[in-house]
């Protein structure tokens, strides 16, 4: 621990501060705020009540006004620190508010009502996490159904992506045929075509083959990714051809060479592509929104959109469910990031 502190507080200037030390600390702290701030803000806000979300100026931590049960009143009353007309400051419970006048009552002596201008009272607040933002969508909305759809789309699309892309990459890296480079160029070239250009034609195709409003319509158009083919091909180029020759001498069919030699050896690159694919499919919004129209087929990202109505946006639910949808992606990165860095470093440049 002390060594970690020694390491972290190490400075170029020794005891003093060299300008690079100042610069690095500013840079790192600034970077931390820029990168991590929004995520932190999201998580904190997801625990706020709708009223607090609308509050200005906003606070980082979620607060709730403290409440108390007062004799003679059925509902719990909010507590306020009020400046009373006689000049003293006291913690009072608010019975009701009429215009700019607040009617307060002392919880100890509930008989007497005091009228105070609302500017003269401050709510007594404490940190409170509104967990109902999380529990309610699970209880009253189709959140679980959306989750199921998202998991289905992500898992199936990733499996098909790995299979088809690795087959294409195998052919493009290990077979010599006329036009091989042209095909590769064509595949990589499609990287330059954005989804928005393809949206309408893709929609016609999906609609024509009867996949509209079906999860397969979400899955199939996304499984062939040029990035995946390229990534896997570059990795497979590093697998020695002699292994394939050896397998051929060992009576292996081309399928066996692919399935039993190439695929296991390409595992690091496959892991990288699997991670990417999971993240892409999980976060996909536009295409599922276009294809899916029945509510029970919605994926999470589309489902989140339903909390934003025409007249009323339920920010507290949107924020909370956004946090929930982020969890798998965060977990993927936490546990598999070494594959990502190793995979990206290991592919392409060898």
């Amino acid at each position: 621990m002390s060594r970690a502190i020694t390491f972290l507080t190490r400075r170029r200037g020794g005891r003093g501060w060299h300008w690079t030390d100042v610069f690095i600390w500013t840079w790192l702290i600034g970077g931390l705020i820029v990168m991590f701030g929004p995520a932190l803000w999201l998580v904190m806000s997801s625990f706020k009540s709708p009223a607090q979300l609308a509050e200005f100026p906003p606070t980082l931590l979620p607060y709730a006004t403290e409440q108390v049960m007062v004799e003679g009143y059925d509902k719990p009353l909010n507590l306020f620190t009020a400046k009373l007309p006689d000049g003293t400051t006291k913690v009072m419970a608010e019975v009701r508010r009429i215009g700019i006048v607040s009617q307060l009552v002392d919880p100890e002596e509930p008989g007497e009502i005091v009228k105070v201008n609302i500017a003269d009272r401050e709510p007594v607040r404490q940190v409170h996490f509104a967990t109902e933002n999380y529990t309610e969508p699970f209880e009253h909305f189709d959140f679980l159904q959306y989750l199921k759809n998202s998991v289905f789309v992500t898992v199936i699309a990733t499996l098909i992506t790995l299979l088809t892309n690795s087959m294409a990459a195998f052919a493009l890296s290990k077979y010599q045929f006329r036009g091989r480079n042209f095909v590769l160029l064509l595949i990589v070239g499609t990287l330059m075509v954005p989804l928005s250009v393809l949206l309408v034609p893709l929609y016609s195709v999906i609609s024509a083959v009867g996949l509209f409003d079906s999860l397969w319509g979400v899955i199939l158009p996304t499984v062939a990714t040029p990035t995946g083919v390229f990534l896997l091909r570059q990795y497979m180029l590093t697998i020695p051809d002699e292994l394939i020759d050896a397998a051929r001498m060992d009576n292996a069919s081309e399928w066996q060479i692919y399935w039993r030699i190439i695929l296991p050896l390409a595992a690091p690159a496959l892991a990288v592509l699997a991670i990417f694919s999971v993240v892409w499919r999980w976060n996909d919004f536009l295409w599922p929104l276009v294809v899916l129209s029945r509510k029970e087929l919605y994926t999470l990202q589309v489902g989140l959109n339903t909390y934003a109505g025409e007249l009323n946006v339920q920010w507290h639910f949107i924020l909370a469910m956004t946090v929930v949808t982020m969890i798998p992606v965060v977990l993927v990165f936490v546990f598999l990031q070494r594959y990502i860095t190793a995979g990206i470093a290991g592919t392409g440049l060898k």
Binding site: L243, D245, A246, A247, R248, M249, N251, A252
Partner: protein, 363 residues
């Protein structure tokens, strides 16, 4: 059976011709070594035999069956690769079993073959390890084992020892020789190392630039190289090759001399030579001695001597700038600048005509 016959094999990549009309008849049970400098096409030839590559012209027969268009898997051959090409994600046992599983062999039979090969190659205790956990020598044995379990018609070995250190190379070489003796299966062995070729081969094929220069038993190649290339390639240190001119031609012998002080009478059938023709004379460093009364004499100035103990290697230069290497018996202390007279026996000298072809001795 494992007789492999190559007829007029050509291989070209685009316009670059790698192999030119290779004709070769490999006998059953023979250990044939393909040797030559890198890029001479020996590995390509082996891949053609294996079926991993197709010839552009010519035919290839195994045991009388034309297999030119047959795939590698159906030729019944096994190959040991230079890099061993062991499947890194499989254990040694799985590596050995892979080829047998692919031909849907009975599980018990696979096990018995693996155990037999493991016993023979002493890899029994590594069977459950991965190739990455083995040393170079152990991997080499596994690679050979993978070929052995297949029970092939012939083994094809592509520079199998080149990744081993010197000591291991010698012992593995002996093991391959023993293996060949025991299995009595045809082996085609590619190497660029002439010591491997000399020690292992029943016959050696010397290749250069896609052509076969000479085929013969190791000592035939050493004693009677067919041309200048083979003369220079086989034998270490290299044969001394000296340009000279024909001085006189007699029945059964040719007298030559050079500006650099070489005078010799060589036993050769010189009826195609005329006085004044350009020839090249070769004499091996080991055939040179300090005997001034020998059939041939070379005068040269010593540049450097390497005293190795049993013998002394003398590097010298003749007066016309020709470099000479002589391996002399015993320990000699000739200092640089000394002039020595190197003598050699007429029967040990090799004569090559202007085209580089050997001038054969009169029968």
């Amino acid at each position: 059976m494992g007789r492999i016959k190559l007829t007029n094999i050509d291989r070209a990549y685009g316009k670059t011709k790698i192999l030119h009309g290779i004709n070769l008849d490999i006998q059953d049970g023979e250990l044939l070594v393909l040797v030559g400098p890198s890029g001479c096409g020996k590995s390509t030839l082996l891949r053609l035999i294996a079926g991993l590559d197709q010839p552009t012209a010519g035919t290839l027969e195994i045991d009388g069956r034309d297999v030119t268009k047959t795939s590698a898997a159906d030729r019944g051959l096994a190959m040991v690769f230079q890099s061993y090409a062991l499947y890194p994600h499989m254990t040694v046992r799985q590596n050995l079993a892979f080829g047998l599983e692919n031909i849907r062999m009975d599980k018990a039979e696979i096990d018995s073959r693996i155990n037999e090969a493991a016993r023979m190659l002493e890899i029994g205790q590594y069977l459950d390890r991965r190739p990455g956990q083995l040393s170079g020598g152990q991997r080499q044995r596994v690679a050979i084992g993978r070929a052995v379990v297949r029970n092939p018609t012939a083994f094809l070995l592509d520079e199998p020892l080149s990744n081993l250190d010197a000591e291991l190379r010698i012992s593995t070489r002996a093991e391959i020789a023993a293996l060949h003796k025991r299995l009595a299966t045809t082996m085609v062995y590619v190497t660029h190392d002439q010591v491997e070729a000399m020690t292992l081969a029943n016959r050696i094929v010397v290749m250069r630039a896609g052509r076969i220069e000479q085929v013969g038993k190791p000592l035939e190649l050493y004693n009677e190289p067919a041309n200048l290339f083979v003369a220079g390639f086989i034998g270490a240190p290299r044969m001394n090759l000296m340009p000279a001119k024909v001085k006189a031609v007699k029945a059964g012998s040719v007298s030559i001399e050079s500006a650099g002080g070489l005078k010799a009478t060589v036993k050769a059938d010189g009826h195609k030579l005329k006085v004044g023709d350009d020839v090249t004379m070769g004499v091996r460093p080991h055939d040179l001695s300090l005997d001034g009364s020998a059939d041939g004499l070379i005068e040269a100035e010593v540049n450097m001597t390497e005293v190795l103990g049993p013998e002394t290697v003398a590097h010298a230069t003749t007066s016309d700038g020709q470099k000479i290497v002589a391996v002399l018996n015993g320990q000699r202390q000739n200092s640089a600048g000394d002039t020595i007279k190197l003598g050699f026996d007429a029967s040990k000298a090799h004569l090559f005509d202007a085209k580089g072809e050997r001038v054969r001795s009169a029968a």
